[in-house]
Symmetry: D3
Subunit: 318 residues, 6 copies
């Protein structure tokens, strides 16, 4: 049996084996009364739903969610989505499997761009911030949360939901925000600060471990918008002489970045910079969603299947 | 000319003089090109819109918003609302006017119940809180904000918009919240805490001085829900050993008390106590609005005129 | 095989036999072409979805929806919900099964509080009504509908959907309504009347028999709000000298108790008592829903799984 | 001074005198402090807002709302609407004024078509109803409410708000409903019954006297949809052997005729006839609104001014 | 094995063979891992979901979507809907199968009324149009699109989704529109033109072939409302001397026929004719939906099962 | 009397004379019965509401809307907005008034940036378009509409409502669109085309003459989105060999640029370029609105008065 290509390159007829990260696993009883395993596998390029129907008892103990695995199987199409029907699976034995080419970093769904490169771009932007207090605050944010900012996804499901997705989201928003701020003569440093801070509360709203992700207690009961406010307030209080008016502007950016109350912002944008931040965030999330929907679509023809979240089909082009 | 009765007792034919607090004042040009003064007067019982059409130049300098005044005039009905057409007005001269019975406290629109009595009721409730950390935190809140909590209105316009209105609102909510919590076997201390804390951010969202009221910069850009969260976080950090889970519950109560995102809550109720708090707050505001609309209505018949905020007429009864 | 505990105490590994009421039963064909039975079982404490995959032909005739049954099986988790995979089932043979402890009342999902106790509390409240006409009318309502009021659930699905649920709903609302009315100086007798009458039309909107429940023709075409109005109008016409203004107030309470037109009330609350009734009804339904969602949730951790009706997860606590 | 033409024929430069019904009258104080009278005059063809600025004291007692008046004045345009600036007004002296051509029926805003003609058309349609019970019930409704059905408007403001408007509305709906029912093979008698009964509750919801109109207590607290249901229930109970299923169908038509809960129907259409009734009612009201807006518009050009109720301008044509 | 009756006459116990059109076909893997075929069959009277579980490999190549087939099987109820479990299937062999009575036209789901009869009715209406330009334009539309107008359905799913459905929709709308226009003294020719043109863009929005249907590229990216506008503009430009004002009226009818922006009309009705067209279109679609839901419902009792699209159950009658 | 500064520099105490364009003029009757003129004046920097109360008869004939005027008066604040109370006004006498410095171009409210400069920037962008067909089409659009594109405002009221506003809007959108397209690897030429074409239908939707502006018949009945589609279709048909797929993409951009059906787009964005165009259009309009609201606000303090269109106050800064 040959080795599977990257998951992003798999099609309905592909069969073989590969190394993956398993991020979710459940035992289900089918309507016919037989048990089967349903689980999620990912590699650096994509993730896929997998099912195992035979010898369930034998394989059930061979792996858990959060572990790297070696799996064999064949891709099929189910309800218009690719899935992998797995015939054999076990957790990785690192020493032995490295000989066959196993590398942890190849098994985690990741941003396309190298993380170091994105991090450098972000710190360069912060270095160019003119206002001393603001620059100090932003560097402190980056220092306090570097490990998470480099590794985390930006969300559980909706957009940028992969390793490095958080960083990819803010680096791209920083690029777009800079040119938009320039075009409108807005305060570019404030916009950059808004970009870096707007989702900072997600680092407490979510937990992220071994490719798996979920909501914390504070995430459910307080939420990332309010948690982000607390981070700004506390970090600013640690920067000597941080101006109150500037602090309030930053807090306004964090609180208003969803753009409207219906979308969860307790206050709505009241400054040019807040309008820009909300628009840039919305557009970046939307573009990421659209791109992913087009990339993951398995339908024939020029359009994707119906996208429930966006409420429409999307044009894939000729 | 005889002395006017309390404003709440004035009708369309009343004329005379009285002492009032002026809370707003503006010079306008009528469509016919002549100038007139439009201002708001209040006493302990009600407030009224007043206009001065004659000798504008002479009286314009005789008083300002925020000052106590002595005014003469006659009540008329305009668009279904009582207003006072003032013929003469000047600021109070305390020494001299006290001889005629001027007292500051009679001129400020106030809650019906004595403030000391309400304050005692509230502190008694806090004293009965079982959990030590929670009781300490609530007493600290009361101590830190006592002056404001005793004097402030609960809002700029919509409900409880008078001296002591904030306290009246939370004391009544505490009474209702206690019986509702008991009926449902909910944590009554948490509900009481939610009642006391839910609008605490309004003390920073608004300014209130001399009967006048408005939004602060932080009020507009951060808002009372987020400001309240910051107060809870900071006060809890000052109570040694305050449990994290309890702090999160309190923060959840503050953040979710508007009941839904459309109404400005970034997170929605996820505990019984949060559902109770939101319902009790909504009902207390609604009852206050309805009572005021009925009390201030000057229309004949069993129903008030159309109430724009509530989108209906109200039944005044037979 | 040992006897199963109450359904509310069952967990994923429990197996055994028990007596239940079957409230729904359907034959389905699985995607693999084999038939299976899906049905609902309940006892006094909870209800559960059950499936039977083996010997379908043999067991199909052994029981029907609406009958008491003796079933054997084992609990499993399916999509985060507990279900019972039944291996053997037959209708109860009363004489014989009573020897093993079968009692009808143990097999019907019921309110926690004894019905007689709730009924006494309710009639005591009515006895205390000051207005003669109103008291007479309420006693007539209780007399005319006693059997139903004691036994019926309050709804088909959403809240208080079990034996005695209707009574539990109005008794709890009466308790809360009394304290709220007192706090606001509202007419407590009117609020009590609203509580007793608000859902009275459900006794014609629904049918309820043998634990099963559904909509009647009038329920679908007229609905409980309008049916309740007809009950009030007719009952009042049987009370000699019943004042028209009072009758109109009662009808307003029934018609407006959903609080807004979007929720099905053709008129919206225009009296303090109507505002209180709508708030108390909403809160009681909500608390019941939340409590049930928390009780029935089988997910690990501090939060329930996503609750579709409420559009959120709920906090189960530490 | 010459006699004014019908109000519908007045333009911005018309001056003269005429007989009218005054339907509303109020004393206002202008921003410049002077009092003026604002009132509404109507004749058979249209109604107009009128103002009197000079000698207010003298004319104030010369007429009241609900009286026929003789008024002199000149039309002007104010905010794009015609108004009549009245210089002299007094109540009609019937004996004397009849000599100058005063006739009550010329002074009440009325449907274009003669009432007797419409009444005959309606009774003819009822006579053709096949089902005995239904025909008897409809004739009883016509008999019980003949005086009101012939004279009343269909609403206070929005559509058909003139003498005979109620009848005009149902006669036109009967015509359209008959052809639509035929086209779809629906039960035409049921549709006719729905047309006649759908707004029957308005006869209790409103009062109408001397051209003036308003809401009754039951109108505000119960509303015409529920009041209509009560009329149907009561009238049906007086028709011996009236079938329950038919009664329920009629009640469903009345209750669902606003088409959706947002528009105040506690149940939504569930029969073809109910769908037809709601569509025909909506369209008839809409056409009446559009026609009136076009007829009353005083703007130059092909389009009316912005119509607030419809949220758009309307095309008047070339 | 006997021959199946028309699909509309099939019930849960019917078994046999018949000729059908297959309009969709998919291979699925069941939860138990076995493959099965799911496909749609139709005849002139109805369509039905079919499944084949045995010998999938053998039958998979025996037919494709878009082909006429001969199938054997038995009807069962699944989730309250009838489905056909097929045991044997193959594509039609026209020569041979005609001997057994195969006729293409019997296998395509079709309007009840003969197409020629409807076409004649429509052309008769156009012939009666008074305005020369308009009549010429309408005849050109009919001539340019005759083949499609006679055969196409009116939509992919929601209403009139069968052969001749487009024509049935506009012929019925023409009938209703004519009587409504007459009742209101509207321009009946304009209404007829609106009826014929309003969905003309669907002929480019959709493709329809062999009973199958889908969206074209222009359908997804431009949509039938805008495509219809283009057809009107282009056809009018081919009619010499076509008046601009008339062209604009026609374009307005096409663009506004969904009645509001939320339903996809970029402009809302601003003429009586546009209001009529939108109402007649909405009602015709609704009646068709309701009739089909009632006809296809397999539930016992007086009401259909819950209709997701309409958000309610429907009354089937006694 | 001295010469007034630019209108943008006027404050509440400024008095003097100046040259202006009058864009609207109406005679009104005040509540006190006296007539006055209300009109709008503009110069290159701002516009202002003006009123004339004295000698109305004399001045009424001295000027009309659409004419350049010489006016004398003094600025006052009315309801928080500056207005000019004019004491004398007459139409400009060009020969004579040029001696005092009258220049037409100084009297028309205009974009800040010189039109030639913006035009050059736009044509440079078009010159850089890679696709031949697209470049030819865009140049043809610019050539066909150059005069209007250089002079027109972008809207009647909401944003960019001044001479050159249309051009300013698309030039700024082109700048932002280019950088956003680059950031996301979108087709920058398509985005530019969308920017230039998205509002092209406004040139037929509106008329604009002498600073005055309004809706045409086609504007009201067809609307700029559909009119823009027609321009694209027609212009593309004049470019030999214009690819159908490209034409459809352009039409999709025009039709979807309002982003959602609620905002008037009959189809919603289905390509990355359409998402970008809608976001950039929305943001540019919003920024323009916010900037203007801040610039025109006359309130004291850090925040503007309540902005009805945006539903909030805006932060003007310290």
């Amino acid at each position: 049996m040959s080795r599977l290509p990257r998951l992003a390159a798999i099609t309905a007829d592909t069969a073989g084996w590969g190394f993956f990260l398993c991020t979710a696993k459940e035992l289900r009883v089918s309507r016919s009364g037989s048990e089967f395993l349903i689980f999620t596998l990912q590699d650096i390029s994509a993730q896929i739903t997998a099912k195992l129907f035979d010898e369930v008892t034998r394989f059930q103990g061979e792996f858990e969610a959060g572990e790297f695995v070696r799996a064999e199987g064949a891709a099929t199409v189910y309800n218009g989505q690719l899935q992998l029907v797995v015939s054999s699976i076990r957790r990785v034995n690192p020493e032995q499997d490295r000989l066959e080419g196993f590398r942890e970093e190849d098994c985690v769904l990741s941003a396309l761009r190298p993380i170091d490169e994105m991090w450098t771009e972000l710190t360069d932007r912060v270095r160019a911030v003119a206002d001393n207090h603001l620059r100090v605050l932003l560097f402190r944010i980056l220092a306090d949360h570097e490990a998470q900012l480099r590794e985390w996804p930006a969300a559980q499901v909706i957009h940028h939901a992969y390793r490095g997705g958080f960083l990819e989201h803010i680096v791209k928003m920083a690029e777009v925000g800079a040119s938009v701020a320039k075009a409108y003569g807005a305060n570019a440093d404030l916009v950059l600060a808004g970009v870096i801070l707007h989702d900072i509360g997600k680092l407490q709203e979510l937990w992220y471990e071994g490719g798996a992700i979920g909501y914390t207690r504070e995430g459910n009961l307080v939420g990332h918008i309010a948690l982000g406010l607390l981070v700004v307030r506390e970090t600013a209080s640690g920067v000597s002489g941080f101006p109150l008016e500037l602090r309030t502007q930053l807090e306004h950016l964090v609180l208003s970045h969803h753009g409207s109350r219906e979308h969860g912002s307790p206050v709505e944008p009241k400054t040019i910079e807040a309008f820009i931040l909300a628009a840039v965030d919305e557009l970046d999330a939307r573009v990421n969603q659209v791109r992913r929907a087009i990339r993951e679509d398995a339908a024939e023809g020029e359009f994707t299947t119906w996208n429930r979240r966006l409420g429409r089909v999307l044009y894939k082009g000729t």
